[in-house]
């Protein structure tokens, strides 16, 4: 575990220091910038659904939105 984390750290630092050539150029990102490609297009409407499911299911976390107390105990 320690070696893995150290390796990851080293990789990230070295990669950050080096000249990374993005394989998708900024001018090729029109499709990705389209609002329909957003994970959180619906703002608080998405947050509400996370809360609605949290109140009725045992699972919680990693919903893709910000966390916080739900008061749903």
């Amino acid at each position: 575990m320690k070696h893995g984390l150290a390796g990851l750290l080293a990789l990230l630092v070295l990669a950050g220091c080096g000249e990374i050539k993005p394989w998708v150029k900024p001018y090729e990102r029109d499709n990705l910038a389209d609002p329909i490609m957003s994970f959180g297009r619906m703002g608080i409407a998405n947050s509400y659904m996370h809360h609605m499911y949290q109140s009725r299911e045992g699972a919680r976390g990693a919903e893709g939105g910000s966390g916080g107390g739900c008061g749903c105990n």
């Binding site: 984390l5 750290l9 990230l12 630092v13 990669a15 950050g16 220091c17 990374i20 050539k21 993005p22 394989w23 998708v24 900024p26 090729e28 990102r29 499709n31 990705l32 389209d34 329909i36 490609m37 994970f39 619906m42 703002g43 608080i44 409407a45 509400y48 659904m49 609605m52 499911y53 109140s55 009725r56 299911e57 045992g58 699972a59 919680r60 976390g61 990693a62 919903e63 893709g64 910000s66 966390g67 916080g68 107390g69 739900c70 008061g71 105990n73």
Partner: protein, 399 residues
């Protein structure tokens, strides 16, 4: 089915994730981000300045939960943003828990939150505070998040920590007061794969310590009473640690449309394992309209100390009959329509959108019985199931 006494195992759930195991990698990654952040790079952007208004409605067999929500975000130059959110849940009607044991239920929940985002270089640092109040429950949470674009902005790494503290009360008992503390650790990576594909990987660990019961909910056990069973208060462990990992992706189709998929795995120290799958299709049409379809499937196993009917009173040290801790699955079918507009009459509004989403939910329980049904032997009642309709009317104005 009535569990036999010798099959009832006293369950001790006291495992708590060693916090150092969670904190250590987070500290390492924070250090890494500070190193990378010092490198020259183009800037990330803050969320757009906007007002969001939502009306939400949850309708389930006589139980109605609805209310408004509003979020206002104001950006000060391009590096600093403040936002505030206010949400109301108004509950009317009775759930199966209330019908079964005549216990009290909250009538209104009000949630307020404020957040601050600061953009520096390719990093966004965020702090937020959230408070949720009911007549018998108060929840507070303070969150810190940082996100960082790296590798030519193809990758965004994010991490967050939340400290939560709740106060649990009980209607009709002014002396009842319990506490619950919560810590959440988040780590996420979003990666551009191609000019048409993007994926996101999220991990979140949550630890709770304190009063995790519901102050009213009861479990049932076999007794000599006329109906064949009686109730006693539920008893939960005072700690819980859970981990969830999710992978989600989106792909831009050759015509202007998108598909998305998601899988989430969840497990906790109470013995619950859950899987969630979701797919969606987003299709713009008629210039200003966007249509969206989604299907979500969720299933989970029960907590180790859950039973619909215990063999006798105090059959275990921990006792639960909360259907959210039982074995069940649910399906969600969702349909959404969005209308985008640019109001020429209101000069300070750049663009807006109005959305209507309707989700149909079907829950099917495998070991939670509907004891409001009459004419059945104890433990042979039909399994509970219900449908619900969730409606969201959402307006967003960017200014």
């Amino acid at each position: 089915m009535v569990p036999k006494a010798d099959q009832v195992v006293a369950v001790g759930v006291t495992k708590v994730m060693d916090s150092s195991k969670v904190l250590k990698p987070l500290f390492l990654l924070v250090a890494c981000l500070f190193v990378i952040q010092s490198l020259p790079a183009p800037a990330a952007v803050l969320p757009e300045q906007a007002v969001e208004v939502l009306y939400h409605r949850y309708d389930q067999d006589g139980q109605l939960i609805d209310g408004p929500a509003i979020l206002v975000r104001k950006n000060f130059d391009s590096t600093f943003s403040l936002s505030g959110e206010y949400l109301v849940d108004s509950v009317s009607g009775a759930s199966i828990d209330v019908e079964s044991t005549a216990s009290e239920y909250e009538e209104e929940r009000i949630q307020t939150s404020v957040a601050m985002d600061y953009l520096t270089g390719k990093s966004i640092l965020s702090v937020s505070y959230s408070n949720s109040e009911e007549n018998d429950y108060e929840s507070n949470a303070l969150s810190f998040n940082v996100s960082q674009d790296v590798f030519g902005d193809l990758t965004t790494i994010s991490m967050g920590y939340t400290k939560g503290w709740d106060e649990v009360g009980k209607v009709g008992d002014d002396n009842f007061s319990e506490e619950l503390d919560r810590q959440q650790y988040r780590l996420g990576v979003t990666q551009i794969l191609t000019k048409n594909a993007i994926i996101n990987l999220d991990f979140e660990a949550i630890t709770d310590e304190g009063f995790l019961n519901n102050a009213y909910r009861q479990v049932r056990f076999v007794s000599d009473s006329a109906r064949g069973y009686d109730f006693q208060s539920e008893q939960y462990p005072t700690t819980r640690t859970s981990r969830a990992i999710a992978i989600r992706g989106m792909y831009y189709l050759p015509y202007r449309a998108a598909i998305r998929g998601e899988y989430r795995f969840f497990s906790d120290t109470w013995g619950i394992r859950a899987d969630q799958y979701e797919i969606g299709y987003i299709h713009p049409a008629f210039d200003q309209w966007i249509f969206e379809f989604k299907y979500r499937y969720y299933s989970q196993t029960k907590a180790d100390f859950y039973s619909d009917l215990f063999a006798f009173q105090n059959a275990q040290n921990f006792l639960a009959r909360d259907k959210e801790l039982s074995t069940f699955s649910n399906h969600t079918f969702g349909l959404g329509v969005t209308y985008e507009f640019q109001p020429s009459m209101i000069s300070f509004i750049e663009k807006g959108q109005i959305n209507l989403f309707v989700d149909y939910l079907k829950f099917e329980y495998e070991d939670f019985r509907d004891i409001t049904q009459e004419g059945y032997d104890v433990g042979d009642e039909p399994f509970y199931e219900f449908d619900a309709l969730v409606t969201r009317l959402f307006l967003k104005l960017e200014y």
